[in-house]
Structure formats: C-alpha cells, structure tokens
Amino acid sequence: MSGPALFFALIRWDFLRELRRKEIVLNMSLFAVLMLTIAQLGTSGDSVAMKNVGPVFFWMAIVFTGTVGLGQSFAAEREGGRLTGIQLAPIDLGVFYLAKVAATWVYMMLMSIALLGVYMLFFNFMRWDLMPSLLCAIGVFTLGYSGVGIVLSSMTTALRGGGEIVLRILILPLMVPVLLLTLMVSQATFGEQVAGGILGPPLALWKYALTVLSLDAIYLTTGYLVFPKIIEE
C-alpha cells in the first residue's frame, strides 16, 4: 500500500474507532468546558478582567485538555497489544505517526470549536469577524501540539499508570515558544491584547501563522523520523 493510501486508511480506522467509543472528543470537550466554567465564575461581572484573561483561559483549556486527548488517543493503541500488531505489519511507522497526528488534530479541532462556542457564551465574545483568524491560530497551534504530543505519548503511555503526568511535564516546555506566540497574537484573534501586552507587542496573524507552521514542520519531521525508532525500541 502506498504511503498516502495507508495514511488515509489509518485515519479512517481511527475515526471509526472514535465514532464507536466516543471518548476522546467528548472527554476533552467536557474537561475544557469545566475549565472555562470555573474561569467564567472567577471573572464574572468584571468585563476588563474577562477581556484580559479570557484568551489565556481559552488557550489553557486547549493545552490541558489536549494532554487528556493525547494520552487517551495513544493509550487506545496499546490496548491488547494493538501497537505490536501495527509494528509487525510491513508498513512505514512514520506514516502511522502522521496518520495518528492528523486524527488527533481533527479531534482537537472539534473540541476547540465546541470550546469556542462555550467561550462566546460565557465571555460574551460575539466577534464573528474574528472567527477565521481565531480558527487559523487554533489550527496551526494544535497541529504542532498533536505532532509533539503523539511522539511523547508513544513513550509515556508505556509507563506505569499511563504516564499522563510525565506527558504533561514533557510537553509544556516544548510547547512554550508556540504558546507565547499564540498569546502574542491575541490582538488579531481575540481583538484584545493579553494581560496588557507584557509578553511583547501584538503579533500580526500572518507572521504568527508562518512562524508556527515552520515550527510545526520541524516538529512533524522530527516526529516522523523519531517515532519508528521509539516504537521499535
């Protein structure tokens, strides 16, 4: 089977699994909504605070729920030796990695869209004109996040207890550059500068997208090369 055909076949099987189990997107979304609910209660009535820290809570919710989704997505591959079954098939494990990243990225995007709806309600954010730029920022951010996350969860899910704590400890430092850039682009995505702009001047969306996509490319290429070695070990 050719690389692209295998890639799409693996994604299809992943979607079918998620459709039947309904656990990754649902779990992530519930966790994210819970976080936003707490944030909303904490800032309720203070419109300045809501505008300033709202985007921070939004990205925090994506980052933390992402670790839940990543852990579950890969833990499912370890059930009943499924990963060994994949390993023993005559396929490029790098393609399996890319398919897993793509499927996880879709799950994270679905969760983010649900989260965005809740955010609009809770934080009175009715800026439809900003939706394209916000979705663009979410898309490029979660792509790199999934790319790094799948490599790390392939290592941590083998640990006792599923390794979710280790995953969180490892993924956050790696994602800090992208996360800072994402907060700096909040003027373009949320129409507000986060926390009074202490992170630096507002960043234009196109500059952000180009920079983060370049980082995503580095993450994905590294993952493609490293992932098969992790699995074979």
Partner: protein
C-alpha cells in the same frame, strides 16, 4: 526437513527459512537467550520446548522482528533479522498471547483493517478462513463480545490473512477447546506440507511431538537438546 545446530555457524548455500548465528538477547545484566545458532529449512514445523522463562518466546520474538538481538546475526526468509525489516514482516505471521484485535470493531472490520495493512485484501480468503475457524456467522459481532477461545481463533485468522511463508505460533493452543485444537493442528500440518515453515513455541511436548518434524529445547537461554528427521516426525 530440518537441520538444527546449537552453538554452531550455519549456512551451506541451501535455502533456509530461518538461519541464526550466535544470537543472544539480554535485558540489563540478565541473559535471556545465549549464543543460539539454528537453521530451519522451508517446510519444517519446528517445535520449541522449554519451561516458563526459558527463552523460547524471546527466540520467537527475535525471529518475528519484534525484538533485536543483543548480539549475533541471522536471516529470516533471506532477509537480515532486526526490528524494522518489512520484508520479514510481510512474509511472516505471528500469534502470541495478545490478539492485536480492535475490540470496538467487529471481526470482519478487524480482518479488513489488517488485510489493508498487509496490502492483502482478499475477501474470498478471509471468508474461507472465517468458515474454517467457525467464526463466519459471528463476523459482524464486536470483538468485545467474543470469548477467549473465539479471540484465539480470530487471532489465528488474522495471522493467516496475508499467506505468510513463516508462521510463528507462541503457545497457540491455550484457550482453545478440543475442536479448536484439532482445527489448529490440521492447519499446522497442512501449512508445513505446502512447503511453508512453522515455528511452534510450546511447553506441551505431546502436542509438539504430534506436529513437529524437528524440535529444540531451550533451558536458561541455551539450546540444550535438538531433534530433526528428514522424513518428518521427531525423536
């Protein structure tokens, strides 16, 4: 037809399904397999005996490319052993303690999934295997509803989807009922009779002697005994 050697280099120009030379495997300071040299000709059913922890499953995992040997070298079906060798993986089938099956899918979907991974989608062959192993009528049921014996049968079907040249069976009779065991025995005999190779890891000598044309015994990682007859059978 089997030629087995313990702790000796192999290779006399003839085709070998499996040829290992001085293969060892250790985990930390613990040697699990020590200096194993072994040659298996195509068409052989080789039984690998040994107590729990003797190293027989380790040998099977090395041959199947799941694990790399710590030292030594070898070839399986003409390709160098070691993780990542897709030629060996494409030509061998593995049955172990884990089924690899996706419990949220039904058996038919599972078989289609694995067939597509091997680039060997053959509905007729899948149907034939399902019928022979008695799971055709249950093929639409989720695998999560299967009994242990049914999962074992499904696992055997999965391993045969791509017509492997080398069939590696690690304790395949556990969990099978009398009928299932008889069926598997018939499959193993048929498989070897068609010139293909079977590596049968078992602690049950009775079954091994019934099926295998050659055998080795592993103790503490070393091959301590071997037997092989040209005409089939085992001493």
């Amino acid at each position: 037809m089997a030629e087995l050697r313990s702790n000796a280099p192999g290779g006399n120009g003839e085709t070998r399904a499996v040829c290992l030379q001085g293969v060892s495997k250790s985990f930390g300071f613990r040697n699990v397999l020590s200096d194993v040299s072994l040659e298996i000709r195509p068409g052989t059913c080789l039984a690998v005996y040994g107590h729990n922890g003797a190293g027989k499953s380790t040998l099977a995992r090395i041959v199947s490319t799941q694990w790399a040997p710590s030292s030594g070298s070898g070839e399986v079906l003409g390709h160098s052993i070691g993780p990542g060798n897709r030629e060996i993986r494409a030509a061998s089938g593995w049955v172990g303690d884990q089924s690899f099956l996706r419990t949220e899918l039904n058996l038919e979907e599972n078989l289609l999934f694995f067939s597509s991974l091997y680039g060997a989608v053959d509905a007729e062959h899948s149907r034939s295997l399902l019928e022979k192993f008695g799971l055709y009528t249950r093929r639409k049921d989720p695998v999560s509803t299967y009994s242990q014996g049914m999962i074992k049968r499904a696992n055997l079907i999965r391993s045969l989807l791509h017509h492997p040249e080398l069939w590696i069976l690690d304790e395949p009779f556990g969990g099978l009922d009398q009928e299932g065991q008889a069926l598997l025995k018939e499959f193993i005999r048929d498989y070897a009779s068609r010139g293909r190779t079977v590596l049968l890891v078992t602690h049950n000598r009775e079954i091994g002697e019934e099926l295998a044309s050659a055998s080795i015994e592993i103790q503490n990682g070393f091959i301590v005994d071997e037997a092989g007859l040209d005409g089939g059978g085992v001493t």
